[in-house]
């Protein structure tokens, strides 16, 4: 018995020792960087969900930022200084995000932070950076209250480079009305998910204001095992289209169920639709689905083509919107860093002022600027899936 206790103790001790020693590593942005100058590194924090529910997005965001850092360093860095990324996992939880933000602002002393991945983590973590006066660029949050007028207080250090649903959805709704002739819809949403609930509220507001009838609202759960019931109930209302505010997982189920019961029925979605996983998993059922997005793969703009090619070369896969936004954010930050007087000892308020002045930066998202409330100004791409490709329709 005693032996066994010591055995367990030993295992614990070894585990803790093995992990404790390296608790503060930081990921280097550029594996093959040949440090060109003696200038101190410019540390940029990245807080993303590599584990937990958000780890569907975190990994491609990581790819995006690492690709950008590599290319920037290969091209001479930040005015000669090397750009170093400090990447931390927020575990998709609020406290994980807050912990990472605290660590990066106080211990790593990063010049700015990109992230975190999920909106609910963001509203908890951003105040940390605000009070440490460290600029933040949100790279994937789409809900309301992230920038501008924040629920939690003054947020003049917070920026957002990801297109909010409150910008994308009105465009989608107006295209649905004008081009697709939608007069009535059934609105479905995952009630226990912040992203979906936010989208639902925005859809509801915009559909109502543009005079489209909402025949029924159907709530389901993000963990629902099967959506045939809710979809059947939605189709029973015979709407012109089904609007679904959910993440990709439930969206795929909705598309497939709709296709099975009523092929050709129009399905309109939010940001959750804008991932290749939709086409891969739903296959033919995804045909015709419409959503508004910040980016799409097939965009022929040269900056985007360059990004897509480089991404494919490095990771042997197509990028998604999360990768594109993460990649773009690094370049947006670079643009501001270059304009900030002394890069090496960045005064956070100076950097913030420069980020505020961002206009017309060329990114895979298109020409990018921040508006007065620190939110994205960029083109909204309303896309429809045609022949297994996202195709622009506005």
């Amino acid at each position: 018995m005693d032996k066994r206790i010591f055995g367990a103790l030993g295992a614990l001790a070894i585990t803790l020792a093995a992990c404790g020693g390296t608790a503060t590593t930081s990921a280097s942005g550029s594996p093959n960087a040949t440090s060109t100058a003696a200038k101190p590194d410019v540390k940029v924090g990245v807080v993303i969900s590599l584990t937990g529910v958000g780890n569907v997005y975190g990994p491609t965001q990581k790819n995006g930022v690492e690709l950008a850092a590599q290319r920037i360093n290969d091209a001479g860095g930040v005015s000669g200084a090397k750009l170093v990324l400090v990447i931390d996992d927020d575990q998709s939880t609020t406290d994980g995000g807050v912990t990472a933000f605290r660590k990066q602002t106080s211990q790593d002393r990063v010049v700015a932070i990109l992230g975190p991945t999920l909106s609910n983590t963001a509203v908890a973590a951003h105040p940390v950076a605000q009070s440490a006066q460290t600029p933040v660029i949100a790279i994937s949050n789409t809900g309301d209250g992230i920038v501008g007028k924040c629920d939690w207080g003054t947020c003049d250090y917070i920026f957002r480079a990801s297109l909010g649903e409150s910008t994308a959805i009105p465009q989608t709704v107006s295209i649905a009305k004008s081009k697709l002739n939608v007069k009535s819809v059934v609105l479905m949403y995952a009630q226990d998910d912040k992203f979906s609930s936010d989208g639902f509220a925005i859809f509801k507001k915009n559909l109502t204001s543009s005079g489209i009838t909402i025949k029924k609202e159907i709530a389901f759960s993000k963990t629902d095992v099967d959506l045939s019931g809710p979809v059947t109930a939605a189709l029973a209302e015979s709407p012109d289209a089904i609007v679904d505010s959910s993440l990709a997982g439930p969206a795929i189920q909705v598309l497939k169920e709709v296709n099975k019961r009523k092929p050709g029925m129009l399905v309109i979605g939010g940001n959750g639709f804008n991932t290749p996983a939709i086409i891969a998993s739903a296959g033919a059922a995804a045909e015709g689905a419409v959503s508004g997005a910040a980016w799409y793969l097939g965009n022929p703009d040269p900056v985007n083509k360059d990004f897509v090619t480089a991404y494919k070369a490095k990771y042997n896969a197509d990028p998604d919107q999360f990768a594109a936004q993460a990649y773009s954010a690094v370049y947006i930050l670079l643009d501001a860093l270059k304009r900030t007087p002394t890069v090496t000892s960045v005064l956070h308020d100076k950097l913030r002022d420069q980020i505020e002045l961002t206009t017309g930066v060329k990114t895979p998202l298109g020409e990018f600027s921040f508006n007065a409330s620190h939110d994205v100004t960029q083109k909204v791409y309303v896309v429809q899936i045609k022949n297994g490709q996202f195709t622009l329709i506005n």
Partner: protein
């Protein structure tokens, strides 16, 4: 000392959560010490978190008053619940309290004032670390002293043998209920503190996964004394941060540690603190519940 300050700043949240989790672990410890397996404490924390946050945000209550109201609300809910579910035992009791937790979660999702699925954002961050640890100290002290009082002995007697305990004149149902309600009160206090520590809360934070996590803190830590649950909360809250470099393998390590502790330290990590050989019989743990 700069390094220490830096470390402290960086891990402030983790440190805070260790305290909050330790309180939650103690809240479930009370019922475990009585030999009852309940899984409702995450929901009690949720009720108090939403209750107190809404009071500070919408009704402008001062923070301490809102905290107290939240905790009392949780306790008030636990009383009729406990009175009904303590007819059940073992896994049935656990599942009944779990079902109650899910009903609470669904109710939060359905009531508009809670922000539903969008969560409640913009809670004033009034909680400071010293609030958390002062509370923990008081709660741990009360639990430790109660343990060696007539009440604690009655709880232990109920755990060891309910029938014999009743024969000694102990009103078993009432004592179980007292442990449950006191647990709800503590969970509620921790929930309120947590809500004001974090700016935002969401219904998911108080669901099944959380309930199980709280149980794991207490059971893996051990239930012979109040140090067990605190130790468990410390280990399993700090572990993700400590294991951060292992990223992908972190869950695996946690799982392995969980199984190892249960298999080789049946009465929890607290066993390690007991030096007397025969003390093994004295210590109680998962072995003695349900």
């Amino acid at each position: 000392m700069d390094g220490l300050q830096q470390f402290f700043d960086a891990y402030q949240t983790t440190i805070g959560f260790i305290g909050l989790n330790a309180m939650l672990a103690l809240s479930v410890w009370l019922t475990l010490y009585t030999g009852q397996l309940t899984l409702g404490n995450a929901a009690f924390a949720g009720i108090a978190a939403y209750g107190s946050a809404l009071l500070t945000m919408k009704a402008g209550y001062p923070f301490p008053l809102a905290l107290a109201c939240g905790a009392l609300l949780a306790a008030a809910v636990s009383l009729p619940l406990g009175a009904t579910v303590f007819r059940l035992r073992g896994v049935y009791l656990a599942i009944a309290t779990l079902a109650f937790g899910e009903v609470v979660r669904v109710a939060i999702l359905a009531i508009p004032i809670t922000g539903r699925g969008q969560g409640l954002v913009g809670i004033p961050p009034k909680t400071e670390l010293w609030h958390i640890f002062a509370s923990l100290l008081v709660i741990a002290y009360v639990c430790a002293r109660l343990r060696i009082s007539t009440v604690g002995r009655a709880w232990a007697a109920i755990r060891e043998d309910e029938l014999a305990a009743a024969s000694q004149g102990i009103p078993v149902r009432r004592y179980k209920l007292a442990a449950f309600v006191l647990g709800a009160l503590i969970a509620g206090w921790a929930g309120g503190l947590g809500a004001h520590f974090d700016f935002a809360i969401q219904p998911d934070e108080f669901g099944f996964a959380r309930a199980v996590q709280i149980l794991v803190f207490a059971v893996v830590g051990g239930i012979p004394n109040v140090f067990g649950p605190i130790l468990g909360a410390l280990l399993f809250t700090a572990l993700p941060a400590v294991l951060q470099p292992l990223q992908e393998y972190r869950d695996i390590f946690q799982g392995v540690i969980l199984v190892l502790v249960i298999v080789y330290l049946p009465r929890g990590l607290a066993t390690l603190l007991e030096l007397r050989r025969t003390a093994r019989l004295r210590t109680v743990g998962a072995e003695d519940v349900a």
